[in-house]
Amino acid sequence: MILIDSDAFTGLSYIKDAHNKRANRIMKSLEGEELLTSWQVVDEVATKLSYFTTKKLAINFLKWLSKSDIEIVYVDSKLAKIVVKKFKAQKSKRVSLTDCTNMVIAKEMGVKKIFSFDKVYEKNGFKLLS
């Protein structure tokens, strides 16, 4: 089971993104893997795509995602409390609440690998795909 972060989705969606080639290469190794993401990631990606690319691409992202078997995990109030604890425990102010949400979801669901290029996950004990 692998959790996908915003930068992986965005990297695949924008051909000039710094991570586009790596994201494409990693994607090819995911055949047969169970994939999941968080609603916070979906929010970030759709918003970024809409802001900086086209609204159509943002909507296609949402439409295609809803037709796929990628699991979207929603945070309830119980999980949100754990996310806040995680957020407070981060030393860097550059770690977003979305990053913390992803880490808490991953831990709760026993996910060890994350499809992302953000080193913060490694610092928190997760393995980044390469």
């Binding site: 969606s13 000039k16 802001y51 796929s68 078997d69």
Partner: protein, 104 residues
């Protein structure tokens, strides 16, 4: 609600079944009744199983996760946007985010 059906199979019955009316040709109904009798099921259960099977067969199949990612990768934005769009949250929450003022 749980119980044992006519064939002795332990079943879980949905408590919220809804009664509905279906018009069937007499010969189809006769076949359903015969099949139900042979399998030790009620006609309703046979109809439920057949319906579930048909729904599963006709329902559009979901893309796999990789198929979805490939669809994204095959339809990328080719215009100009920040090259660190994916990795820099400043584009979303910080000083690099678009200014809404006066824009629709």
């Amino acid at each position: 609600m749980e119980g044992v059906d006519k064939s002795g199979v332990w079943c879980r019955y949905m408590a919220n079944l809804v009664r509905t009316q279906v018009m069937l040709e007499p010969d189809l109904l006769a076949e359903l009744r015969q099949l139900a009798e042979e399998k030790g099921l009620s006609v309703s259960e046979v109809v439920r199983r057949a319906s579930r099977s048909l729904v599963a067969k006709l329902k559009p199949k979901k893309m796999t996760g990789v198929e979805f990612l490939r669809k994204l990768a095959d339809n990328p934005f080719k215009g100009d946007a920040p090259s660190d769009l994916g990795s820099n949250d400043e584009h979303l929450y910080g000083k690099l985010a678009p200014d809404y003022k006066g824009k629709k």
